[in-house]
Amino acid sequence: MPQPAIGVRLPRAVAPRPQSSIDVWQPSPATLALFLGPAILVFAGFTAYPVLRTFYNSLYLVGPKGASGFVGLHNFSQVLRADPVFWTAVRNTAIFTLVGTPLDVFGGLLLALCLFAGVPFARSLRVIWFLPVLMSYVVVGIIWVWIYDYDWGALNLLLHAIGLGRLEHSWLGDPATALWAVMAAHLWKWLGFNMIVFLAALHALPGDVLGAAELDNCGWIAKTIYIIIPMLRPTLVNLLVLSFIGKMMIFDLVWIMTQGGPLWSTETVSTYVYKRAFDWNTFDLGYPSAIAVLWFIIIIAFVIVISWLLRQRDQLEF
């Protein structure tokens, strides 16, 4: 007995719905207000508005009673042309960032590769390595101030103990070494973070591809250079950008360890902004606002350029 062919369209029994058919996932204004409202309010009031106001301030002389005199781009030209401290701060921040970022990221990569090569306890040890990341800059800063202490600090004592006593220094007191000392402390805090991120990325690599590389006559070194690092590229770029941004904005650690001294050798753009605003003989928020705006634009420009240069031309799908 032949069955009726399935797939016959039944005629529509119901007339199509009128215009007001609602997409259930289109929110009513009340819903939007309830869910998104508070966030938008907070954002508008304490993030968006301050940013706009900073731009505004940068064009004015801003005294204790608020903006008092429109100066247009005068602040900016002062900053760029007549402010040696600004340029020192820029230099310091640039050194800090351009040296610190590769050290940070590639150091983390190196450590992660060493671990990945198959060392036991990696899982439990990483709990310890992550500790500095979780600690306040106050804690990190004070610990390292103590380590760098001339009389009883661990560094000088260590140098003395291994016979390099003549290298003992007042690390934070000597303008030649202060910036590097702060950089080392910063590295100590963040190396673990990069290492753990890379470790996670390494473990996410497809095992078969590494197996195929083995069969293609790759020892550990060849595998690392030709296969592992290229496949880690997205993570690498991510961390480089993150590290870059973080170092360009560095404030806490410098403030705690040296306050920008000695003799401006550790002055960074952000500490200078703070000092100009709150630690200067004249109270004017316009000038530091201009510095902040300038620096913001520079950071954004750099991030865009770096991301574009290092972008993946195709996706690394695997």
């Binding site: 259930v24 996932w25 929110p27 009513s28 819903t31 309830l34 869910f35 998104l36 508070p38 966030a39 907070v42 954002f43 304490f46 993030t47 968006a48 508005y49 301050p50 940013v51 106001r53 900073t54 801003v62 450590l111 671990l115 060392v119 040890l125 709990v127 390595w129 992550f130 500790l131 500095p132 990341v133 979780l134 306040s136 800059y137 106050v138 804690v139 004070i142 610990i143 103590w146 009883w152 661990a154 004592l157 673990g192 973070f193 991120v197 996670a200 996410a204 993570t235 941004i245 904005m249 404030f251 806490d252 403030w255 952000s270 703070y274 606002s289 902040a292 620096w295 913001f296 991030v303």
Partner: protein
Amino acid sequence: MRPMQFWLSYVRRTPLLLFLLAYTVLTGGPFLWVAAMSLRTTSEIFANPYGLPRHPHWANFVDAWVGSNYSTYFWNSSLVVVSAVAGVTVIGAMAAHCLARYRFRSRRMIRFVILSGLVLPPQMLILSLFQILLDYQLYDTLPGLSIVYIATQLGMTIYLLEGFFSQIPQDLFDAARMDGYSDFEIFWRITLPIGVPAIFTTVILNFVILWNEFLYAVVLMTSDDKRTLPLGIMHFMGDHQLDVAMLATGLMIAIIPIALIYACFSETMIRGMTAGAVR
């Protein structure tokens, strides 16, 4: 041949193991050192900076707590951080749910704007926030700082939660719709319970970040009785640079809450803070 292989692999790996051991000591050592110092007197420390406490001076903690105002700092930090974390979690979860679930015209723009807040340097905000808080009598107040903290962490919180919420299968929500649940009920009964792991992660992350926060606190608080813990320690450092024992005790007061949370939730914390960077 077997035992030889075994030994060879250890020999080859020894430099690696030594290096890792050194790194572990370098990373964890300082904390142990600070812990030891917090239980000694300053004179003991100067006599022998790296020794162990002869008799643990628990009194240090009492002194710090009562005498040196650390209790005030601790409570200030607790109040501000707990209220800020609570606030940002509620506000952030609702916003994240809305962005993840609903379709509306300005959705992409709002998302973009809120997330762009993530790359904003603090310097762009502190000066204006200083002015704003002054204007509204919120300068040098705990509520003022708390609201600022909510704003600073909102971007990250929404980013993390929206990512998670948008992966909850749409079918659950469609079914709830057909069962007649209202918008708020859907949020309350479906998104929240399922989103607990992600929410938990953001709570911990926000707590750690805000507990340690320094810059905004330094700009927006001045009176001693309003200081948060990091500020308090810095202030103490400025006045009593040489009282190393008391400083160490103060550091421990700052470290211990984080260390406790970390001891319980290390995996969650590590994964939560690093997952965003892995591609």
